[in-house]
Symmetry: C2
Subunit: 196 residues, 2 copies
DNA sequence: TTTTCGACCAAAAAACCAAAATAGTCAAAT
DNA sequence: ATTTGACTATTTTGGTTTTTTGGTCGAAAA
């Protein structure tokens, strides 16, 4: 079974974009890597932007898939959420193009990237919502507004992306995540009566 | 009492940097605005970078001061923390140069800005630590590792900076902050016995 | 019909270069 | 101790040419 040209282009482009970045990768580069004429690319994609968008969307859906697999392995909502955060942070760094798209000043302001980012953010919130809802049904989470709660958690997660590029904190990361999760689960206010 | 030239330069520079940005503001512009020769500037500062650094540090310390005033108005640790988050997010946007320094791709990677940012982050963590410690002594907060807890909260706060530039959410901001704080205070896990 | 590609174009980018602007120096003046 | 004008080395800018690149099209192949 031959590979669908469409997908093949996306795969090869992903590698090139990943290595050289969006600007430095030309349509000719991609065509040459595929040993086809540049014009042929335009039979499958109508612009360079569209190719990049496809690459980013592919990576985003892979990230999403990995995350879904991880949380479905767990049944305890608390553990689901922990796995979600862990896997999502872990994989995020590895998806180079998505990373660049969200990060690079140059790309970030392009309207088509903006679209992808919003979509990707919404999916993230939706996944968290799912976990929260599940936890609520199983009566382990107490949270009144699930929508807002999910957004709040997503926001906190964004904060973790910042120091990610400043200094790699492979080691600290685990520790900080655990701390963040503990606060997320139990809060910092002492329970009223003699508990715990 | 005359104004200290050093401080005067910082004040005027802050306005110019704020209006035109770091790159577009020349030392001549600053000198002219002060009606002094450009060379005189170099009597007080040894480079343009140093002037900008002084401006950013001034703004950072003003932000810190405003935040300290706000939290000292409150005595309840929980309210302290709430005021801290509110004021810090509110004022942050208004300190244009600090904002640009942390944000702009061009400036962010300059080593001297990096330094300022780290220092500023550390101070932020230290303030949060203070609030947490106070809350612990007053037995209203329960948190084992104050250092890590403060870092976790600071990280979550960084997440709030991101959507700040994407779309102004003056209105949503208040709502999201409250939600984030509620989770921060009480967590999302249902307490074991029939409480609350 | 569907897919590929060479030839082509307009627009963008890179290379180049001279002129202007700018950060920074210094010796002399105040 | 402070200020400044004159000076310089380095960037930045503006304008021009050349090259690259994204994208089109019609013809050829499959």
């Amino acid at each position: 079974m031959k590979e669908d040209p469409h997908d093949l282009i996306i795969q090869v482009s992903a590698q090139l974009f990943g290595r050289f970045g969006y600007k430095k990768t030309t349509m000719d580069d991609i065509a040459q890597a595929l040993r086809m004429g540049k014009s042929s690319l335009y039979y499958y994609f109508k612009s360079k932007e569209e190719v990049f968008q496809a690459v980013v969307e592919m990576e985003a859906s892979q990230l999403k898939a990995a995350v879904l697999v991880a949380i479905n392995k767990e049944s305890d909502p608390q553990e689901k959420l922990r796995q979600y955060v862990m896997v999502r942070m872990q994989k995020f760094k590895e998806t180079v193009n998505l990373y660049e798209a969200v990060r690079s000043d140059y790309l970030m302001h392009l309207p088509f990237i903006e679209k992808v980012r919003v979509k990707y953010d919404l999916e993230e919130v939706s996944i968290i919502q799912g976990i929260l809802k599940d936890g609520q049904q199983k009566a382990v989470f107490r949270i009144d507004d699930i929508q807002l709660g999910a957004v709040a958690i997503a926001i906190a997660m964004k904060g973790l992306e910042i120091p990610l590029l400043i200094n790699d904190l492979e080691n600290n990361l685990q520790l900080r995540l655990d701390k963040l999760l503990e606060i997320l689960f139990h809060g910092i206010v002492k329970p009223p009566k003699g508990l715990e």
